[in-house]
């Protein structure tokens, strides 16, 4: 099975109004070529699930500037003034989620869990509207799973089956978002044949990857 597709075919899998997850942490480990192609196509009314909203000229932040989102679920928008402006002027809805909770909600969405229980956010605005569950006398917040139509991810290397390896601090949200999306497209710097990747070095098994874009060949 060969999961390689062109950049054009990849962005055509994202439809107006979709919920999308994008990997990366302040633009490190972000699928830049997929993002640039989506901006060029002009897909609209998206809901974004991403650790942060990057910078106005880098990563997912460029999509904020291009006004592609109606709603953003994220842990941090402080590095992108445009996200704050759109939120304060009521152009978009922003839901701020503690980073550790956000990744666990995504993990739950991909791993068949009905939610996660965490103490993070107790007694803060994060608690509002959420069920509090008592576990052996200790209060926890119930945080529900998150899923998406499409995940746009980045990895260093893939084999054609979608097994992934990473370099540096690029794993961040890229390792779990694929499981939580119906379609998961991974942009990589290098694609190798079956057998050229040692099973010991695989970080994400190809089962979580539906499509691969070979960034190195672009």
């Amino acid at each position: 099975m060969n999961k390689l597709i062109s950049l054009e075919d990849a962005v055509n899998l994202v439809r107006d109004g979709d919920t999308i997850m994008i990997g990366g942490f302040l633009s490190v480990g972000t699928p830049d070529r997929l993002i640039d192609a989506l901006i060029a196509k002009g897909t609209k009314n998206l809901t974004l699930i991403c650790n942060d909203t990057g910078f106005i000229d880098r990563g997912v932040g460029k999509m904020v500037v291009a006004k592609m989102f109606k709603k953003i679920l994220t842990s941090h928008i402080g590095t992108n003034k445009e996200t704050g402006r759109q939120m304060l002027e009521g152009e978009i809805e922003v839901v701020l989620i503690p980073q550790g909770t956000l990744i666990e909600q995504i993990r739950a969405g991909g791993f068949g869990l009905g939610g996660v229980l965490t103490k993070t956010g107790l007694g803060t605005e994060v608690e509002k509207g959420k069920q509090i569950v008592d576990i052996d006398g200790e209060k926890h917040l119930l945080e529900k799973p998150l899923r998406a139509n499409v995940a746009l991810l980045f990895a260093e290397k893939a084999d054609v089956r979608g097994n992934l390896t990473f370099h540096g601090a690029t794993r961040n949200f890229n390792t779990h978002m694929g499981a939580a999306a119906d379609i998961s497209i991974v942009e990589v710097n290098e694609v190798v044949k079956i057998g050229e990747m040692c099973p010991d070095e695989v970080v994400v098994p190809g089962v979580f990857v539906t499509h691969i874009v070979d960034g190195g060949a672009l």
Partner: protein, 219 residues
């Protein structure tokens, strides 16, 4: 009088004394990051970067920058020998699971019961909490490193007026004026910067400040 940079370095230097040999430490962005420069000789302190590694090293030379190795503020850093990379789920398992010994964070306000407000000023500044809420709920020891006041307005208060980042989370506060422990009876000054009188420190504090019987000079 110290200028802003001297003040920040003075605070960071004192915070660094709290970092024990063998400890796993997470430093917030800004002033807390400076702490790494002042770890006392002979102490092996491991720094975690919540975006996914342990073994956070110094800023690289321009020609040594690897764009895939950045800290949680997005700035280029290095990873030291013996370090390890991991994803955000594992990183926050380390944090929430109580495996971080000490976290050093900034704050807008700290209350005498340990409540902390650090992530937003409604209608004005809404950057988001990032990993701060998880660090505050999971780290074994929470140290706030900050200037004692905001241009003269107290940041140590009876109650926080801004939205909380966490409830009853702070253990210690290090400022340019002194070292304050958050205890059952509220703020206790355990070290004093001799450049300030006790009256000056009390006046800059918006809550009761108990002076420790064993008050020391802040080095």
């Amino acid at each position: 009088m110290m200028d802003k940079q001297q003040m920040q370095e003075f605070i960071a230097k004192r915070v660094a004394l709290e970092l024990k040999d063998g400890a796993l430490v997470n430093l917030g962005i800004g002033l807390p990051t400076l702490t790494a420069n002042f770890v006392p000789e002979g102490r092996d302190v491991l720094f975690q970067s919540e975006n996914g590694f342990i073994g956070l090293g110094p800023t690289p030379e321009e020609d040594q920058i690897d764009p895939c190795i950045a800290n949680a503020g997005g700035l280029p850093v290095t990873i030291l020998p013996g370090g390890s990379f991991f994803d955000s789920a594992l990183s926050f398992g380390i944090i929430r699971g109580g495996h971080v010994d000490t976290t050093v964070l900034g704050a807008l306000q700290v209350a005498e019961n340990g409540d902390i407000a650090s992530y937003m000023i409604p209608g004005k500044m809404v950057p988001g909490m990032g990993g701060a809420m998880d660090l505050l709920s999971g780290a074994k020891k929470v140290i706030v490193a900050m200037e004692h006041t905001n241009k003269g307005n107290p940041k140590l208060l009876k109650e926080c007026t801004l939205p909380l980042t966490a409830v009853k989370a702070v253990d210690m506060i290090v400022t340019e004026m002194g070292v304050i422990e958050v205890t059952e009876v509220g703020f206790v000054l355990i070290e004093q910067n001799p450049a300030y009188t006790l009256d000056e420190i009390k006046a800059a504090t918006g809550a009761e400040l108990t002076i420790s019987q064993a008050l020391k000079q802040m080095a």
